[in-house]
């Protein structure tokens, strides 16, 4: 009896350590990402000085006399992200307020899964959508719009991240305690006034975290821009021009057959490291905001 008990306890210990190992695997992935990105970028930064990397205005790694300035790619990333946020933030917030404060329970239960489908569409399909449907449609209004541009992928990425922004902000709004709403109603406020002046300010850090999630999605989005953006590094702030983003550049290089130790191969890791640092900053900010938000009530 006692021996069986001990055996069961030992088995429990073994299983617990196996489970812990699986948990630690997540830490291992992060460490591996950092290690690979840094170690593969080091040879790149031996050739190109950091100052040059951040100030040169040309990114032409495939030319005979290659130039490596990240600015054109960074500009492309920021422009598409900005266009995307112009769509996603207002739409996402309005949908979140509507679902959290106005919609009947049943409507919310039915609509939410459908809305999440918008975020589940494969990104290459969204790329086709941007190139073959949105760009021709926009050309009715903007006849000068080139076939490859940043406006249409930006808009499509915006549609894609609406569900992320809407569902995270809605969660934040719903965790605002009901007594705050009731206090507002008791003072004679309408639903809309309560939503805008009580619920939204009460959930503001959660909503900010939703924005940050949306931003990091948009920054890291690849295929939409790779298909519809033109893959041509171009230092411009005008969304009506064609350009490449950091992610699109990585895809473009990977499509070719690059030798392992060429500078072109190393450059995609340097680009990836830049991308990772950008999103990491947003994620840390988002984590800290959600932490603060939890302490409010």
């Amino acid at each position: 009896m006692l021996r069986r008990l001990r055996r069961r306890k030992i088995r429990d210990r073994v299983i617990e350590s196996l489970l812990l190992l699986s948990g630690l695997f997540a830490v291992f992935i992060t460490a591996a990402i950092v290690y690979i990105l840094v170690s593969e970028s080091i040879p790149f930064f031996r050739h190109i000085r950091l100052v040059e990397f951040f100030t040169d205005t040309m990114w032409t790694p495939m030319f005979d006399s290659p130039r490596f300035g990240i600015l054109p790619l960074l500009a492309g990333t920021l422009v598409t992200t900005f266009v995307a946020l112009c769509v996603a933030i207002p739409c996402g917030i309005i949908i979140a307020i509507y679902l959290s404060e106005f919609a009947p329970h049943r409507v919310r239960e039915v609509v939410k899964p459908f809305l999440e489908l918008l975020g589940a569409v494969p990104t290459v399909v969204y790329g086709y959508f941007a190139l073959m449907m949105v760009t021709p449609f926009l050309r009715h209004f903007l006849p000068d719009l080139p076939g490859f541009n940043m406006l249409s992928p930006g808009l499509v990425i915006g549609i894609m991240i609406i569900p992320y922004i809407a569902s995270v902000s809605e969660d934040a709004m719903r965790s605002v305690p009901n007594y705050m709403r009731e206090g507002s109603y008791a003072m004679g406020a309408t639903r809309f006034q309560t939503a805008v002046r009580v619920v939204v300010p009460g959930a503001i850090s959660g909503i900010a975290a939703a924005f940050i999630l949306g931003i990091s999605r948009a920054v890291g989005e690849t295929m939409v821009v790779a298909v519809a953006g033109g893959l041509q590094p171009n230092l411009t702030w005008n969304p009506m021009e064609s350009a490449a983003t950091i992610t699109a550049f990585i895809v473009q290089v990977s499509l070719g057959d690059l030798p392992h130790d060429s500078i072109g191969y190393q450059s995609i890791f340097a680009a990836g490291l830049t991308l990772m640092v950008t999103t990491l900053i947003f994620n840390i900010a988002g984590f800290m905001l959600t932490r603060r938000f939890r302490e409010v009530y």
């Binding site: 069961r8 306890k9 429990d12 299983i15 196996l18 489970l19 812990l20 699986s22 948990g23 997540a26 830490v27 992935i29 992060t30 591996a32 990402i33 690979i36 990105l37 170690s39 593969e40 739409c91 309005i94 949908i95 307020i97 509507y98 679902l99 106005f102 609509v111 459908f114 489908l117 918008l118 589940a120 569409v121 494969p122 990104t123 290459v124 399909v125 086709y128 073959m132 549609i159 609406i162 309408t190 639903r191 809309f192 006034q193 939503a195 890291g220 295929m223 790779a226 990585i250 895809v251 990977s254 392992h260 990836g272 991308l275 999103t279 990491l280 947003f282 994620n283 988002g286 984590f287």
Partner: protein
């Protein structure tokens, strides 16, 4: 005197009316935007089906890619996708569920747990192309797995691991404490409680998370391109099952492959409009598969929720 009261009342009513109107206008706006968003999805799907209509047919599924658009098909793509998904499930499911069980049932409140949790949250926010770079550096070169089905499957498994972990944790959390306490009271060990009682109750949630993770993996293009998969694959991997002993083999793991989204990307980036029709057809199938998987996930969640009465 009476007139002043009347005006004040009229003003009050007007003001209340304005605010109520604003309320209604906002509801209208919210519904319009929601409707527009859902309409976009419908337009997208119908347009793909319409554009690709000419290519749907048995031939499309049984032909290899070709330089002639009307003869090209997705045979190597859907076979590749299925095999890659097999590897992804085999890796992501046990890993993700085990990590979630640890975090939800075992983990003490200490810094190790905190670090694991922060990592899982952060990994969910890492852009998919970064996983591609990780796989290129780690699996393709350091571990010399090459541009193979195993590499792609592992990459996608890492990518969906956070989704599986989060979904499983939610499912485990939904099991009431009383069930665990009842099992402990009868002398069960922690693992027995978890394996015999908590896990069976959370099967629905875990399956839902797994299906949603897979539907994400099936459409991922960027990381697979990064590891160097080719679009033009005119042969099939070694079949995993065969008629001779030992019936099952694993040589397919190291074979070259292509997947649906890469095939579609390849067709989209060709200037010849005839290939755009192929791209639309492949896109419609890919999107249809994603929507179907999400539908199944919603249905599974609904069924299991209905079946269990605490």
């Amino acid at each position: 005197m009476a007139g002043a009261v009347e005006t004040a009342r009229a003003q009050l009513y007007a003001s209340v009316g304005r605010r109520k109107l604003l309320d209604r206008l906002f509801v209208l706006l919210g519904m319009c935007i929601l409707f527009a968003a859902l309409l976009t999805l419908a337009v997208l799907f119908l347009n793909l089906v319409h554009d690709g209509a000419g290519r749907f047919g048995w031939d499309f599924f049984t032909s290899f890619p070709s330089r002639i658009a009307t003869r090209a098909g997705i045979l190597s793509a859907w076979v590749g996708t299925s095999l890659v998904m097999l590897v992804t499930v085999a890796v992501a499911m046990p890993m993700g569920v085990a990590a979630a069980i640890y975090l939800e049932e075992y983990a003490p409140k200490n810094w190790v747990t905190a670090i694991i949790e922060i990592n899982v949250t952060n990994l969910a926010g890492v852009p998919s192309i970064i996983y591609g770079l990780l796989a290129l550096g780690l699996f393709v070169y350091k571990m010399s797995l090459g541009e193979s089905i195993a590499t792609a499957g592992l990459t996608l498994a890492l990518l969906i691991l956070p989704i599986v972990i989060v979904a499983t944790r939610e499912a485990l959390r939904a099991v009431p404490r009383s069930i665990r306490e009842a099992a402990y009271a009868l002398g069960a060990t922690q693992w027995e409680v978890t394996a015999h009682h908590v896990l069976p109750y959370s099967t629905g949630g875990i399956l839902t998370g797994m299906i949603i993770g897979l539907s994400r993996a099936i459409g991922e293009t960027a990381p697979i391109i990064t590891i160097g998969a080719l679009a033009f694959i005119a042969f099939l991997p070694t079949p995993p099952l065969s008629g001779d002993f030992p019936y099952v083999n694993f040589t397919w793991l190291s074979d070259s492959f292509t997947v649906m989204p890469i095939q579609m990307f390849n067709w989209v980036s060709r200037p010849d409009p005839a290939f755009q029709v192929n791209a639309a057809a492949a896109g419609a199938i890919l999107l249809g598969m994603t929507l179907l998987m999400n539908g199944v996930a919603i249905y599974v969640r609904y069924r299991f929720r209905k079946k269990i009465n605490w």
